[in-house]
Symmetry: C2
Subunit: 381 residues, 2 copies
C-alpha cells in the first residue's frame, strides 16, 4: 500500500482578460459573468423554477418557436446534439446526414452509436450543403425518417440553406434535426416557420454566455416521435421523457427531480438571453452582418482571403486562408501572448491551413474588429 | 404562418442569499462563486490547460488516487454515473447492482439501457448495503464482471462499507463502480487503497462548488477494460477514449478538441478543490463529523428522530422522520420564506415521511447548525 497522497499547494487562479475571437467561447457579457457569481439557489426553489420559466420563454423567442419542449440541456452543445439523436432516432432507422465539416461527421457518429443507419451526403469543406444532392438522397432512400444537417458549420464558416433543406424534408415526410450551435443569435433562424423538428445550440457562441449549456427545442412532431418510440432511450442523463418532468412540459406543472441543474450557469444563460431579447433578434443579426463587413474589408486590405465563397459566409465565423509562408502556431501564440487576443486554429481538413475568426455575440463589436486588424497587421508585417 | 414571436421583457434575476441545508446544492464558498465570474478563457488556451492540470492533481488528492485518468465530466453527477457505466460495461455483461435508495436504482437503469444484465441486491431504504447478501450474489453469479454500489446514499443518509464491498469484489475478480456523489470531501474515501475501479462524484455536495460538474476517476484496470472493449461506446459525449485526448492521459501531451469545456465552472471547481486541499482531507472529514454531532444533539432536544441507525449515518446527509401531525411542505416553505433556509424533502420511498438536512462542505459550519435548530424549533412550536 502506498502512502496517502499529501496536500497539493495550489495558488488561486487568476485568468487574464482575453479578447476571444476564436470559434467560441466568445467574449462573455460583463453582466453575464456577474450573474454566474450570484448566490446559488436550490434547483427546486420556487424562485429558481420561476427563473427557468423565463429561460424557456427567452429561448422560444431566440429560436422563434412556440414549441413547449424548449429547454437547456445541462451540458455543452455536443450533449445537445446527442440529446436530439438519442431521443428521436431508434436502432435500425435511417438518417440522411449532411457532412461539410467536423460537425456533420459528429452527427454521423451519433447515428452509428445508436445502431441506426446513416446515409451521408458529402460536400467539400467550406461549401454549403448541396440541396440537390440531398433531394437525390431522399429519393434514393424512401425509407429514411430523418434529415440531419448543420446550419452554420463552425469548422468552416459556411452557411447552409436551412429553410430550403427543411422544406425539402417536409415534402417527403422526414423529420429534421438541425445543428444551430453557431447560428443562434448570429444569423436568421426561424424554427417554426422553417419546420425544424429538433434543434440544438450552445451557450458559448452568439449568445455570449459561459460555455456548458445546450439549448434545445423539439416540435410537436418530434415530441410525438419521442412518445411513441418502441425502445428505451439509451441515455439516462439525456432521456427527455425524464428531463421534462423537471423542466415542465406544461406550465404550472409540478417539478420533479431528475438531476441537479447547473444553477449558476442557468443564471448566466438567463442574463445572456435577456440581453439578446433587449437588443432584438433582427438587430443582433444586423449587427453581426455589419461587423463582418468591416472585418472583411480590413482583412482584404491585409491580403487575406476567405475560405468560403461570399454568399455562403457566416458573419460570425470567418475562416480565412493562412497567408503563404506564415507560421500558423507562432502567429496565434504571438496574438495571444502580446495582445491577449485569441483567434481559432483550423480544424480537421483545415488544420494548419486556415484561421477561424469569430465575431460572436458580445464579441461582434467595432473595438474587437479594430484590435484584430491592428494586431494581425503588426504580426504579419 | 404565425406572426414572429415578439421580444419578451424580462428583468434581471436577483436571487436571495439562502442557507442551503438540503441534499445539495450546498452552500457555495464565497471565493468559489467569485471564481465563476472570472474572465472566460478559450478551452485550448495554455493558461486554462495549465489550470486543468491542477484540477486533475487536486482531484487525485481528494479521491486519494494516483489514477492518471482523473478528470471532471462536463455535466452533473448523473452524467458522471453514466460515464462510468457506458464506458466500462458492454451489452450482455453482468453487473451486480446494490439498491438501498434512489441512486442504486438509477445505476440499474443505466445497466439496462446498455443492454447489459443487472443482478440487483436490495436492502431497505435507510439501511447500508448488506455485505453478506452481496457475497451471496457474487457466488451465485460467477459470470458477473462488475459490482456497483453507492457509498453515501443521498436519498436516505446511509453509509455503506465501501472498503469491505470493494475487497469482496477484488477477491472474486470483479471491477467496482462506486457512487461517491455525496461522499467526496465529507467522509473517508480512499480510492486506491480500497480498490475502487471507477468512481464518480458531484461538484455541488461536500466540495461546495456550483452544480454542473462530475469528477470521475478510472483505475488502470478500468482503463484496460475500456481500451479492450469490443463495441463502440454508445455515447459520443461521454466516450472517455475521446475525452482523454482533451484532458490528456499523460502529462505534457497535446490537447485535442473534443467539446468546449465549461470554463467558468472549472474555475469554480479548481477553487473549491484548492480550499479542500488547504483544509486537508482528514480535517474536512473531522469537521463534518463534529458538526453532525452538534446537529444530532440539537435535533434530539427537539424530539426529532433519525431514519438511519447511528453507526451507518452520514454526517453530511441527515435524514430525519417528520414529526407526527406536522405538515411537510408547509414547514419547508416556512423555513424557506421566513428564514431563507432550505432543507430537503424526502425522495422516493421517503417522500412525505422524511426531511433531509445537509451539512456539506462550506455548509458544515456551526452557524448553519444554529440557524437550522433555531428556525426549526420556532416553526415546530
Amino acid at each position: 500500500m502506498q502512502p496517502p497522497l499529501s496536500q497539493p499547494h495550489i495558488q488561486p487562479f487568476f485568468p487574464p482578460q482575453r479578447t476571444l475571437m476564436g470559434p467560441g467561447p466568445s467574449d462573455v457579457y460583463p453582466s453575464v459573468l456577474a450573474a454566474c457569481a450570484k448566490p446559488t439557489l436550490g434547483h427546486l426553489d420556487p424562485l429558481f423554477v420561476g427563473m427557468m420559466d423565463e429561460v424557456k420563454q427567452l429561448l422560444q423567442y431566440a429560436f422563434q418557436t412556440r414549441n413547449e419542449m424548449t429547454l437547456a440541456v445541462s451540458a455543452p452543445g455536443s450533449a445537445g446534439m446527442e440529446a436530439c439523436f438519442v431521443n428521436l432516432v431508434e436502432s435500425g432507422e435511417k438518417v440522411i446526414v449532411c457532412r461539410n465539416g467536423v460537425f456533420g461527421e459528429r452527427m454521423r457518429s451519433n447515428v452509428e452509436r445508436l445502431g441506426a443507419v446513416a446515409v451521408t451526403v458529402d460536400d467539400d469543406w467550406g461549401k454549403p450543403v448541396d440541396v440537390q444532392k440531398v433531394s437525390d438522397a431522399i429519393k434514393a432512400n424512401p425509407d429514411a425518417k430523418f434529415l440531419a444537417f448543420v446550419h452554420a458549420e463552425t469548422s468552416t464558416g459556411a452557411r447552409s440553406d436551412a429553410k430550403a433543406l427543411c422544406a425539402l424534408a417536409k415534402e417527403h415526410g422526414l423529420l429534421t434535426i438541425v445543428d444551430t450551435v453557431t447560428a443562434l443569435g448570429g444569423i436568421e433562424l426561424r424554427v417554426d416557420d422553417w419546420g425544424i423538428d429538433a434543434v440544438y445550440s450552445g451557450s458559448q457562441k452568439c449568445l455570449s454566455c459561459v460555455p456548458g449549456l445546450s439549448p434545445i427545442s423539439f416540435s410537436p412532431a418530434a415530441v410525438e416521435k419521442l412518445k411513441t418510440r418502441k425502445s428505451l432511450v439509451q441515455s439516462w442523463f439525456l432521456d427527455q421523457t425524464l428531463v421534462m418532468g423537471y423542466w415542465g412540459n406544461t406550465s404550472g406543472a409540478k417539478r420533479t427531480y431528475h438531476h441537479t441543474a447547473p444553477v449558476n450557469a442557468l443564471y448566466a444563460l438567463h442574463e445572456a438571453l435577456r440581453l439578446l431579447a433587449d437588443e432584438g433578434l433582427e438587430n443582433a443579426w444586423a449587427r453581426h452582418a455589419m461587423l463582418h463587413t468591416e472585418l472583411r474589408d480590413g482583412l482584404a486590405a491585409l491580403g487575406i482571403e476567405f475560405v468560403v465563397e461570399e454568399k455562403y459566409r457566416l458573419p460570425q465565423l470567418n475562416a480565412v486562408h493562412i497567408p503563404a509562408g506564415v507560421d500558423d502556431a507562432a502567429v496565434r501564440s504571438w496574438l495571444l501572448n502580446d495582445y491577449n487576443l485569441e483567434i481559432g486554429a483550423g480544424l480537421g481538413a483545415l488544420a494548419g491551413k486556415a484561421w477561424r475568426i469569430g465575431l460572436m455575440g458580445y464579441g461582434a463589436r467595432r473595438e474587437n474588429v479594430a484590435v484584430l486588424l491592428g494586431a494581425l497587421g503588426e504580426v504579419l508585417k
